[in-house]
């Protein structure tokens, strides 16, 4: 075991990830409890979602240890890598973003310098640029393309530091993309539903195409068994589908409640503002 330095690497890394995740969840739940004591409404499922998201990221960090020591996953090392990729880059970020952590932070930080500073950062031009849906999509999908279609993937397996940087980027880019599409926390710019849907469509297509090419061709400089490669590629393809649908459901729920609110507020019976004729709709029901 001692001539395998990589065995200590993932162990220590998993411990750090576990501690950071536990700290994050503790801070979140502490803030949510304070908010509720104050009398604000903050649904309990947001706490659960953030905890589950952090759990997904921890699971991805622990997964290599489990597959190496206890129970090899069906498929092989590439499939195991892909399961971790889905957890860190897609499932974890989605569950964390659904908990609206930035909104919670803004509501619980005392009014004053810190809060003003936070808002300045959130509403700054660089933040607006990074959270532009197309920019976030390019950072996320571009990063994946570089990872799987350059020697970076092989380098990651030789060097723990490269692996850490890559996984941090996968997580950060996944968070950014999820934030940019869902837009549940306060951001400076608003984008219409068609804009968000088109970016989600193109990003999903790029993800699907990358998964299909991985089915036939492993990343440069690596050799995986064909069955492992195929299982991993299909996991990426259908896992991407599942998270893509979840993101679309977030958009659909936002649209549904927005349309309902608008109709309720305006007292009109039509979903789309351009077809609304107030005089007709206010007429008593025939």
């Amino acid at each position: 075991m001692h001539d395998h330095p990589t065995h200590t690497g993932p162990g220590a890394l998993a411990l750090v990830v576990l501690l950071v995740a536990a700290l994050g969840v503790a801070l979140y739940i502490g803030a949510a409890v304070r908010l509720r004591r104050r009398g604000d409404a903050w649904p309990w499922w947001r706490d659960a979602s953030v905890a589950a998201g952090a759990g997904a990221v921890v699971a991805a960090a622990v997964l290599p240890l489990v597959t190496a020591a206890v129970l090899p996953l069906p498929g092989g090392p590439f499939t195991a890598h892909m399961a971790g990729h889905l957890l860190v880059g897609m499932v974890g970020p989605l569950l964390i973003v659904l908990g609206r952590p930035v909104t919670l932070l803004l509501r619980t930080v005392p009014v004053g310098g810190t809060r003003a500073g936070l808002l300045t950062v959130l509403h700054s031009r660089p933040a607006a640029l990074l959270t532009a849906p197309a920019v976030a999509a390019v950072l996320d999908m571009g990063g994946l393309w570089v990872l799987y279609r350059t020697p970076l993937f092989a380098a990651m397996h030789d060097d723990t530091l490269v692996a850490i940087v890559v996984h941090l980027h996968v997580f950060a880019a996944g968070m950014l993309f999820t934030v940019a599409i869902c837009r549940l926390d306060p951001l400076r710019r608003r984008y219409g539903l068609p804009h968000l849907a088109v970016v989600l469509l193109v990003a999903g297509a790029v993800h699907a195409v990358l998964a299909k090419t991985l089915y036939a061709q492993s990343p440069p400089g690596t050799m995986f068994a064909a069955s492992d490669l195929q299982a991993g590629a299909q996991l990426m393809y259908y896992g991407g589908d599942a998270v893509g649908v979840a993101l679309a459901v977030v958009l659909a729920v936002r649209w549904y409640s927005g349309v309902g609110r608008a109709r309720h507020a305006g007292g009109v019976g039509r979903a789309r503002a351009r077809t609304v004729t107030v005089g007709r709709a206010r007429r008593p029901a025939a």
């Binding site: 849907a197 989600l200 469509l201 193109v202 999903g204 297509a205 790029v206 993800h207 699907a208 195409v209 299909k212 090419t213 089915y215 036939a216 195929q230 590629a233 299909q234 393809y237 589908d241 893509g244 649908v245 679309a248 459901v249 958009l251 659909a252 729920v253 649209w255 549904y256 349309v259 309902g260 109709r263 309720h264 007292g267 009109v268 019976g269 039509r270 979903a271 007709r280 709709a281 206010r282 029901a285 025939a286």
Partner: protein, 164 residues
């Protein structure tokens, strides 16, 4: 009209247009899902990727596949909204669903299988009877939808509902 008793739920009558759009979206998406589940996963006839696919076919397949998922969600969201307004034209909805399903299958059989050659229906057999059955199936769905739509329009005309 009855219903729409909740406050704020004003209703402008039956919306044939929105019922039909949600039906067509769901028809397309459900047929795509059936294709994926039955032919790719259960029967294993279609290949995930058969290496002879040109790059443009692969890209179009990726876009189409993702679009199907978004269309599924959009169709359900629109259906939920139409139902919330008590504006669902049930028969138009089903007619549009059948036509959407048939339209997708026709598109899949002609463009995906034959033009872009993403994959074939079945491998290591003479494929043309399968292609023929695929396209005939699409036409049956389209015809059934069209007949239902025609009868729905007649019943709308006789009961005096307006398009919305």
């Amino acid at each position: 009209m009855t219903g729409a008793t909740r406050p704020g739920d004003t209703h402008g009558g039956i919306s044939v247009r929105h019922s039909a759009i949600s039906g067509a979206l769901l028809g397309v998406a459900l047929m795509a899902a059936i294709d994926e589940i039955v032919f790719h996963q259960i029967l294993g006839w279609h290949h995930f990727y058969d290496r002879s696919t040109p790059a443009v076919g692969l890209a179009s397949d990726g876009l189409l596949h993702t679009a199907e998922l978004l269309v599924l969600v959009a169709g359900f969201a629109l259906l939920a909204d139409v139902r919330r307004r008590h504006a669902l034209a049930v028969r138009h909805f089903w007619a549009a669903l059948l036509m959407g399903a048939g339209g997708f299958q026709l598109f899949d059989g002609l463009v995906n299988h034959k033009v872009f050659r993403v994959h074939q229906i079945r491998y290591d057999v003479d494929v043309w009877p399968y292609d023929l059955a695929w396209i005939a199936g699409a036409l049956v769905f389209l015809a059934a939808g069209a007949i239902l739509w025609w009868s729905a329009r007649r019943s709308v005309r006789t009961s005096g509902l307006s398009d919305g």
